[in-house]
């Protein structure tokens, strides 16, 4: 595993990506220390003021400091991306392992269910789920997670199908291991490379999707400081106060760029064939 880090260090793109992500992560962790103002503190006499020395990114339509909202918003955005990938990753990988190892009717059932989920355009399915659960950031995360599960299931399943016929699995069987032992101690670890690659890109996609849901009003609700929501709040004042939308959108772009760069680098190291 140290070898992966050493090879990764040579990839400048990946390092840049890691840097961007780390900056945002630190921003999220130390938000109370970094943000100069309370993100929800309104100041109605200074609406939509442009960036100044007191307000690095200006103020939004309720006079709140945009910079502070961006800093606190990083928490929402990061959490959304990471939680989505965690939920989808755990559930999807588990389903893929079972479907690939046991095959048969159970495997078929699982993969057909994945087909049903994939039959819906993913954003539409997310909208549908939020419509059922009612708008909110948490529900948006659930919705995006559900749409991400099939890609994990499919990938892990195809890995499992190959791995379960390998010699070291037979060797483990000869030693008297149970199916559970083989699945979790041999097949899953050897699938981790694919899972990790899926996850770094998955975080990027999840961030965009949850921000998109927030943008159309189905995700985070006011007055939460969430980057997608801030974007839509700035939409109406694009002519007079574009800085509201610019900064929030730029933050999303940089964070997603970071994950994409790092993910690409990681993929090149873990599995160059996928290039």
């Amino acid at each position: 595993m140290r070898m992966i880090w050493l090879r990764l260090r040579r990839d400048k793109g990946a390092l840049l990506g890691l840097f961007l992500v780390t900056v945002v992560v630190l921003m999220a962790i130390f938000a109370p220390l970094i943000a100069p103002y309370d993100p929800n503190a309104q100041n109605l006499s200074e609406r939509r003021s442009l960036p100044s020395s007191e307000h690095l990114m200006g103020q939004d339509t309720y006079g709140r400091d945009i910079f502070s909202r961006i800093v606190y918003g990083s928490r929402n955005t990061l959490m959304a991306g990471i939680v989505c990938v965690l939920i989808a990753g755990v559930i999807g990988s588990f389903l893929g392992l079972i479907a690939g190892f046991y095959e048969g009717k159970l495997g078929n059932l699982i993969m057909r269910s994945m087909d049903v989920v994939l039959a819906y355009p993913y954003f539409l399915l997310a909208i549908l789920i939020v419509a059922v659960l009612s708008p909110g950031l948490f529900n948006a995360i659930v919705a995006v997670s559900i749409t991400t599960i099939p890609s994990y299931a499919r990938t892990v399943r195809s890995n499992t199908l190959v791995l379960k016929n390998s010699l070291f699995v037979e060797a483990a069987r000869a030693l008297g291991s149970t199916n559970r032992w083989i699945i979790f101690k041999h097949i899953l670890p050897n699938s981790m490379a694919s899972i990790i690659v899926l996850s770094t890109v998955g975080v990027a996609t999840a961030i965009i999707s949850t921000a998109a849901l927030s943008y159309i009003g189905l995700g985070a609700q006011p007055p939460a400081p969430e980057w997608g929501l801030m974007l839509s709040e700035g939409r109406s004042y694009l002519t007079s106060a574009p800085h509201i939308s610019i900064f929030s959108g730029l933050s999303i772009v940089l964070l997603v760029l970071g994950f994409n760069l790092f993910g690409d680098g990681l993929r090149d190291v873990l599995d160059p064939r996928l290039k």
Partner: protein
């Protein structure tokens, strides 16, 4: 010493490759192995020797037959009982790299069998692992290494350590040195022999290399296309090979000296496929003594004295034109 540890009766394993065609990898094979002895199993690729090893251990389910290890019918065990049984019978694989999980280091690899069967706490198992490493000739500082960092010889030692961890009585050695450099082969063979003495092991040693088999076995079985052609004590087999196939095999062993040239017996005809074998002797298409009845009836193994068994209808008839 002469108590049979492993008894195999009428073992059959065929693979159905299509509706009409089946490969009879193991076709009605019977033999016994005594406690503490090494039974060598030789034959060409495709004669079924690898399948036999796996079928005996139930890594591949046999189609019919009986396998009795120390009085217990292996094929009749339930899955849970089978897992317990595995402690008594183990296997060493041909490919030293592929048989090891590439993501596990030596410590984890060798402790795995003990962890699976929960033979002690973490500390205990670690100690046992170091002892095993010492037993197979691996230095303790290697415990953190991974298979891809090591050469074939060391990886095979890991395989041996894993097979020994559960203190088995019987080990199937499936071409354990075929993939190794010649210089390392001797080391591993010697290791196997030393271990056999120390731990009173019984081996089924499978190989296509007659010289290796000669070195390590006490008795030898010669197989061809899923059937046994000849069984004999090692010296008896090499001094007095009776079956035409065995004779051809032995004539092909390279001789190191210049003047002692061996008369090479060449086998004519193509190697037949083991698919849907016709009746009659399996060797009939390449045998230089084949007669009409060889095509019609499958010869049984007949006792020629001294524990020497041969499956050849010409020999049984005592006709000339064979061996002698």
């Amino acid at each position: 010493m002469t108590k049979p540890l492993l008894e195999v009766y009428n073992l059959v394993k065929h693979f159905q490759i299509s509706k009409e065609a089946a490969v009879f990898a193991v076709d009605d094979v019977s033999f016994t192995i005594n406690q503490g002895e090494t039974l060598g199993l030789v034959g060409e690729s495709g004669c079924g020797k690898t399948t036999i090893g796996r079928a005996i251990l139930r890594l591949i389910p046999p189609n019919s037959g009986q396998v009795v290890l120390g009085g217990t019918d292996v094929l009749a065990l339930s899955p849970e009982e089978l897992i317990q049984m595995r402690k008594r019978m183990q296997i060493i694989f041909q490919d030293p790299f592929s048989s090891l999980d590439p993501r596990k280091n030596i410590m984890k690899l060798i402790s795995e069998p003990m962890l699976i069967h929960q033979l002690g706490g973490k500390k205990e198992i670690a100690e046992k692992t170091y002892k095993l490493m010492d037993l197979v000739g691996l230095t303790a500082d290697l415990s953190g290494r991974f298979p891809h960092e090591l050469d074939g010889g060391r990886c095979q030692r890991i395989g041996i350590a894993r097979a020994l961890a559960l203190k088995p009585e019987f080990i199937v050695c499936d071409e354990p040195v075929s993939a190794l450099d010649v210089s390392i082969q001797a080391q591993i063979l010697n290791l196997l022999q030393d271990l056999q003495q120390e731990m009173n092991l019984t081996y089924l040693f499978i190989s296509h290399n007659l010289a290796v088999v000669k070195h390590i076995s006490s008795r030898i079985i010669v197989m061809y296309l899923g059937k046994i052609m000849e069984i004999a004590e090692k010296d008896e087999l090499f001094d007095n090979p009776l079956h035409p196939y065995t004779q051809a095999l032995l004539s092909a062993i390279p001789v190191p000296t210049l003047d002692d040239k061996r008369e090479r017996i060449f086998l004519s005809g193509d190697v037949p496929t083991p698919v849907n074998p016709p009746p009659g002797c399996r060797f009939v298409k390449r045998c230089r003594f084949a007669q009409a009845e060889c095509f019609a009836e499958t010869p049984e193994l007949t006792d020629r004295g001294n524990g020497h068994f041969v499956a050849c209808s010409q020999l049984s008839k005592g006709f000339g034109g064979c061996a002698q």
